[in-house]
């Protein structure tokens, strides 16, 4: 017994002295941040709104201060990085007075009915010019498409009226004839980041696949073109999907230009599927509950859905419309320009019961109408439209989404969604191969966005980020651009790939330290 006890004691003592590992192998306080094979002394960032720090529907100073390149630059400064200057907007509201289409930032406000919603502010100042304070290392230009980076005159004040210039670039362009790339080359940077191509499909998607034209206060919408085999952007309308060859060529031109001045090390990111952002995923395709429809449900079925279904069935298109359900949520009515136009047939079929003029109106309104499905995306901006009265349409077929189809510009249909995805896949394939052939670090922004949009989102120190509108924390109030926290998640993806490619040890940022959606 005694022996057993003594040997047990001895073994315990041995265990205690040999297996104790009560300290860190490496204390973070002793870690030196290193630049590896890269030189961060002059870092420039090229891109669009995402790079500029745009959010809440505007570019404003506190948002710019939380742009992802500015976060990356701050970490680079721990490893010999230089100053990183941004063309800051002189106020914290944004927008440009006197320039239509540039309101100030959205803010979250409690409406009279107690619900929360984003409300745009008035623009805070007229377009300023900050060229004298340059050169700027953050060259992100909101609204820029891939080919805009290489377009001379994109910063010409005179070009604003004709639509060939961009006010954000006008602010800091070094001349009326320069391009973003030319100004970037002039800086002879040692390191760059490039994230471009989103807008080559995004404006198509956010406009429901339409272009618009306003003449005399009346706006008309036409179907936008999916460009393929046409690499001349001067022939494009503003919301056309850019030809993948044009996007790849533009990005290559940027990389070649930078390379020609010795800027060969950098990082490039691919394009997220635009349909993973709250702008498309917030409004359900079937928001019409039996409660919201109330007594109208039966009337609609008897006088509109029923006759339409009957007529459409006769033309072999009965699947376009089903009777409204009194037990589950119903989809909205939409116009899908990809459908065969049955206006004439409907008119003919309905004339005996409705009379010629009404039947003609019905035929015109419902010739390409169908109920939305889960594969269609109702735009965030359409949400306030559903259930309101369509102007100039006779009652009772004038209630948007219920008795009057949401129009082409209100919905990104299944067909249009497929065009967007095809284009993004083509862009991303080019971006990846360019990254490889130019030896650049590559950020798979698409994967990260899919992760964010997944059921479990991304958790960081107990804070959960998802792509859910307002409450997800990652997206700002415009439903397209990120919050400071969302940009920090992006910055970390850039930092990780830079470290991997260039053997640097830049620390990541803490997303929770940046601002999210500001609640009232």
């Amino acid at each position: 017994m005694k022996k057993i006890i003594i040997s047990t004691l001895a073994v315990s003592a041995l265990l205690l002295t040999t297996s104790c590992n009560n300290d860190f192998d490496t204390d973070v306080k002793d870690i030196q941040v290193t630049k590896g094979d890269a030189d961060f002394s002059k870092y420039i960032s090229l891109g669009n709104s995402l790079t500029s720090g745009y959010r809440d529907g505007a570019l404003y100073s506190s948002g710019q201060n939380e742009s992802y390149p500015s976060m990356i630059a701050a970490q680079m400064q721990l490893a010999g990085g230089g100053a990183f200057k941004q063309p800051l907007i002189p106020n914290d509201v944004g927008g440009f007075i006197g320039l239509p289409g540039f309101p100030g930032k959205l803010t979250l406000q409690v409406a009279a009915n107690g619900s929360l919603g984003p409300v745009p502010s008035s623009p805070a100042a007229a377009l300023d010019n900050v060229t004298a304070g340059g050169p700027y290392q953050n060259m992100g230009v909101p609204g820029a498409k891939s080919f805009h980076l290489v377009a001379p005159g994109y910063g010409s004040g005179a070009g604003l009226a004709t639509g060939t210039a961009n006010p954000y670039f006008v602010r800091f362009a070094t001349s009326a004839t320069t391009s973003v790339l030319a100004d970037a080359m002039a800086q002879k940077a040692t390191f760059f980041s490039l994230w471009i191509g989103n807008n080559d499909v995004l404006s198509y998607a956010t406009n429901g696949g339409t272009n618009s034209q306003t003449v005399g206060g009346v706006t008309t919408y036409t179907t936008a073109t999916v460009q393929n085999g046409n690499v001349n952007p001067q022939t494009y309308k503003s919301n056309d999907i850019s030809d993948p060859n044009l996007v790849a060529g533009s990005i290559k031109a940027v990389l070649d230009g930078l390379k020609s001045v010795g800027t060969t090390k950098g990082v490039i990111a691919n394009i997220p599927y635009v349909t993973s952002i709250p702008f498309f995923t917030t409004v359900p395709y079937n928001p019409l509950t039996p409660t919201t429809l109330g007594a109208n449900l039966a009337t609609l079925n008897a006088s509109l859905y029923g006759p339409l279904k009957q007529a459409l069935t006769a033309f072999g298109a009965g699947d376009r419309i089903n009777l409204l359900s009194s037990t589950s949520s119903n989809p909205v009515l939409i116009k899908d320009v990809a459908l065969t136009d049955l206006s004439a047939q409907l008119t003919a079929a309905l004339t005996p019961s409705l009379g010629a003029p009404t039947a003609a109106a019905f035929g015109q309104i419902f010739g390409q109408a169908r109920q939305a499905t889960s594969e269609d995306y109702i735009l965030l901006t359409t949400s306030s439209l559903i259930g309101t009265t369509a102007p100039g349409v006779p009652s009772p077929v004038n209630v948007y989404g219920i008795s009057y189809p949401l129009q082409n510009q209100h919905v990104l249909t299944k067909t249009e969604t497929a065009y967007v995805k095809t284009a993004v896949d083509a862009y991303n394939s080019s971006i990846k191969s360019l990254a490889d052939s130019y030896g650049l670090a590559f950020v798979d922004a698409n994967s990260k966005m899919i992760e964010l949009n997944g059921k479990s989102g991304i958790s960081y120190d107990g804070v959960k980020y998802t792509a859910k509108f307002v409450t997800g924390g990652a997206f700002s109030l415009d439903g397209v651009h990120l919050t400071g926290r969302g940009y920090a998640v992006v910055a970390n993806e850039f930092i990780k790939t830079i470290n991997m490619k260039y053997r640097s040890t830049l620390p990541q940022v803490d997303p929770n330290k940046y601002s999210g959606v500001k609640f009232p």
């Binding site: 009560n22 958790s459 804070v463 959960k464």
Partner: protein, 412 residues
């Protein structure tokens, strides 16, 4: 909105891991010998095994004591190079017990302990503030008990446990730039314990004891949200003026199995060993049910379920006592306490480590009075933190020590 409380962790762990890691402080003599259980010298055996009361030499025995428990936890994030230390105040667990043998084969007793009572305090602006800023716990165990001597060499004892507790938890709700306090000062629950105590030979004591699980029920907790503007309160179903909501939760405390033995190698020298088995698997999750606030993560948005994924754990203890004289005793011990969760489940509100502890102390006996002092030095093993559910990654280490002073009185 729904997700703001997702990180809310488990009160259950709080109640059992107060102060950061498992602290065994229910008897000063016992602590000095690695907190081993087979010691029937005085009423302090009551908490460990009610059956031990039958072998206390005196008919009446009274004990009381208190401890200081100091600990510090350090967390470092290798991605961002941030390092954070806790600033925990000294924990002060107390105990008191009385055992009385009115007739030869029957003993009755009462034990009061504060087995879990401590505070973990992280800097309020640290990186994990969404999970915890400060967590304070107090708990009180009231145990009446009885023991029957079945034969000169064996007794059976049983106790009823009434537990009362307080939890006070501050955490940030960064999405709103605000904070949340979860508080219940009236959580309570009940359980039982029983055990057998054997003395088959004058040299050998064997203690086998079981303490049941206890469901600590917080029936009327208060959740207080503090946001920069009160405009949100009504939208969350909170009281518009105070930002408060009620919640209920059941906080399970787990059962513990203990087998201990003490062998008197010589009349002056004894050696003790213990094995504890803790049924932590009950802590698979914690459910907080709010009255109105839709801050949960379930189909019913007022219910929040946080995963815990604890596992059963073990403790092994080895202690010894040597009587220098009839009046002076020296004690030493060491034990190994296993963390009840893996690196993947590490949570900062109840940081836990595989821990080695070295203990020691002295006892002085003056006629019927005993005075004991004890100390313990813990060597928690640094560990990797890889909690994917919380996105909490890095490394954690800790330091801790305990000291205690106990009095005993055995009049007849």
């Amino acid at each position: 909105m729904k997700k703001i409380l997702v990180s809310t962790a488990l009160l259950a762990g709080v109640l059992s891991y107060a102060g950061g890691f498992r602290v065994s402080l229910q008897g000063v003599k016992q602590l000095a010998m690695a907190h081993t259980s087979a010691h029937a010298e005085d009423a302090s055996v009551a908490f460990f095994n009610p059956a031990g009361m039958s072998f206390i030499p005196s008919k009446l025995s009274i004990v009381a004591g208190g401890f200081g428990a100091s600990n510090k936890v350090t967390f470092q994030n290798l991605n961002t190079l941030q390092s954070t230390e806790t600033d925990n105040p000294l924990g002060t667990p107390l105990y008191a017990a009385v055992a009385y043998r009115p007739i030869e084969n029957l003993s009755v007793g009462f034990s009061f302990t504060t087995p879990f009572g401590s505070t973990i305090q992280w800097p309020s602006d640290w990186e994990g503030k969404e999970m915890v800023q400060k967590l304070e716990l107090k708990s009180f165990y009231f145990q009446p008990m009885v023991s029957v001597k079945l034969a000169p060499w064996v007794s059976f004892g049983a106790s009823y446990i009434y537990a009362k507790g307080k939890v006070d938890w501050d955490k940030a709700v960064t999405q709103f730039g605000g904070e949340l306090n979860i508080k219940d000062e009236k959580a309570s629950g009940s359980g039982y314990g029983f055990g057998f105590y054997f003395r088959p030979d004058p040299k050998l004591d064997i203690s086998i004891a079981y303490r049941s699980p206890i469901d600590m029920k917080a029936k009327n907790g208060t959740a207080t949200f503090k946001f920069p503007s009160a405009a949100i309160y009504p939208l969350l179903g909170l009281d518009p003026s105070t930002g408060q909501d009620k919640f209920t939760a059941t906080l399970p405390l787990v059962e513990e199995y203990t087998i201990g033995l003490t062998y008197k190698v010589t009349p002056k020298w004894l050696v003790s060993a213990d094995f504890n088995y803790h049924g932590w698997e009950r802590y698979s999750k914690l459910t907080l049910d709010f009255a109105n606030a839709p801050v949960g993560n379930q189909p019913d948005p007022t219910i929040l379920v946080a995963p815990k994924n604890f596992r059963n754990s073990k403790t092994v203890r080895l202690g010894t006592q040597y009587a220098f004289t009839d009046m002076i005793f020296g004690r030493l011990g060491a034990y190994y306490d296993e963390s009840p969760y893996t690196d993947d489940n590490f949570i900062p509100e109840t940081p836990s480590f595989n821990t080695y502890v070295i203990t020691g102390g002295f006892g002085f006996k003056l006629k019927q009075f005993g005075v004991d002092v004890a100390g313990g030095y813990a060597i928690p093993q640094a560990r990797d933190v890889r909690n994917a559910a919380l996105g909490f990654n890095g490394q954690a280490k800790a330091k801790a020590f305990y000291f205690g002073l106990g009095l005993s009185y055995n009049p007849f």
